[in-house]
Every structure is written in C-alpha cells, then in structure tokens.
C-alpha cells in the first residue's frame, strides 16, 4: 500500500456560463473521490485569476502551479467548440510546464452533437504531449450532453458511470506507475 495518496485534480476547461461540462467534471471528480487512496479537486479555470495581457509561464498563478506540482495525474474536461478547445483552457495549461513532466492525463470530451468531443480530444493530444504529460488510452465522451444531464445536473444515463470507471481505473494505474518512475527510475 502506498503511503501517500494519489492526487488527481479535474480541470474544467471552459469559462462558458451554464456549461454542461461542469456537470461532466463533477461526475468524474465524484468517481475519483470514491477510490481509496485518491484525493481530487475540481479546478474551474473560470475562477483562476490569470491575466490575458501576457502568456506562458510569465503569468503562472501560484495556486494552480502548486496544484499541478502536487498532482500525480490530471483530468481535463473540455467541451468541443468549433472542433477545438477553448482558448482560455490553452492559456491556463500553458502557464505551467515543469509541473507536468511524466504525469498522466486523461481527457473527457463534451459535445452537444453525437461525437462526444472526439475532435477536441484529438486536438488536445499533441498539446498534452508537448507539455510533458502522458496521455492514457481511455477517454470519456459525453455526446448529446443536453440529454445526459437533468437540469439540476443529475446524470440520467448510468452507462456514463461505467465508462468513467474504466477511464478512472486506467488513469490511476498510470498515475501510480509514473509516480514510481518519477521517484525511483533515474534518467540515464
């Protein structure tokens, strides 16, 4: 048994008011929080006080940086906007770099259409790689999202929980494995 819990924050990657992605992020954070030995935290990028008159590590925000530094893995929940991700999500992710190295990341795509954010996930993969994150091979795709949640945010289709649990299971395995690598396997 590992002495330290894994820390796996969930990043809600949109600032759109009333977005359905917030419900998806809460589902994933809720499933992570049920896992023994895992701590999580929902990070809403709309609440991060990052300036937009500069970019990259020059605008690093102490709390977000500390969260990424502490993280063993992260989940990015992203809606699909015109086949892409939100510019502000990229702005936030770019504010850190060294904090991400050799840590696992899983991506949750959200869309109003039938493809469940598959295109935004594909577009995020090269960004994650360049940031030094290691992507897992499970995604969660919330398609037709307006039908998946009730108005109060309650999930109406339990099949999403089964998918989310497969995703969480793989993410935890990768988080454990990469923690071992970071802490025990020396670069030669």
């Amino acid at each position: 048994m590992e002495a330290r819990n894994l820390y796996i924050p969930v990043v809600l990657g949109t600032v759109r008011m009333g977005c359905m992605s917030a419900h998806a992020a809460r589902v994933v954070a809720g499933e992570l929080s049920k896992r023994p030995g895992v701590d999580t935290n929902l990070i809403d990028i709309a609440k991060l006080p990052l300036p937009t008159n500069d970019a990259g590590e020059a605008i690093k925000q102490a709390e977000f940086s500390a969260n990424m530094n502490k993280a063993d893995a992260l989940v990015v929940v992203s809606p699909e906007y015109n086949h892409g991700y939100s510019g502000l999500l990229k702005h936030v992710l770019d504010s850190c770099l060294k904090e991400y190295i050799h840590k696992a990341v899983g991506i949750v795509g959200v869309s109003a259409g039938p493809f469940g954010g598959t295109r935004v996930i594909q577009n995020l993969l090269p960004v994650m790689r360049e940031l030094g994150l290691v992507t897992i091979f499970w995604d969660v795709n919330f398609s037709n999202v307006q039908k998946v949640f009730a108005q109060d945010g309650t999930l109406t289709d339990d099949s999403y929980l089964r998918r989310t649990n497969k995703f969480v299971q793989e993410l935890i395995w990768m988080a454990r494995t990469l923690r071992y690598g970071r802490e025990q396997v020396r670069l030669n």
Partner: protein, 66 residues
C-alpha cells in the same frame, strides 16, 4: 537498475531535504530571464533537469549541467 553514467549531481528536495530522483530532461524555449544560459546545440532550447522526491513527492528542476 544500474546506471553506470550518472550525468548530474544529486539534488536535495526543497521541501523535505531528501535526495531526489532525476527523471527527465525538458527543452524549454525561453530562458526564464537568465541571459547567461546557453542553448543546447541539438535542440535549440534550454535543457532543464526535472527531479522528483521519493519521500514527499515534490518536484523541482534546475538548468542541466551539460
């Protein structure tokens, strides 16, 4: 595992003082305000060593020594 060629001095954890594990090099394309840093000829970037602490999990980095 045995690694006969260790490229860098051990780094101590800034949080707990334990010896950290050197697990990655990352090329950065900005010099973080340090005009004295030289670029790596192979990548054109500034190579940063990434270390992790096996005791408390903290990570830290420093410019690569070579």
């Amino acid at each position: 595992m045995n690694f006969p060629q260790q490229r860098s001095e051990r780094m101590n954890c800034p949080r707990c003082g334990a010896v950290m594990n050197y697990h990655a090099d990352k090329a950065l394309y900005f010099n973080e305000g340090d005009e004295t840093r030289s670029t790596d000829s192979a990548t054109g970037g500034f190579i940063e060593e990434i270390h992790a602490c096996p005791n408390c999990g903290a990570s830290a980095s420093r410019p690569a020594s070579n």
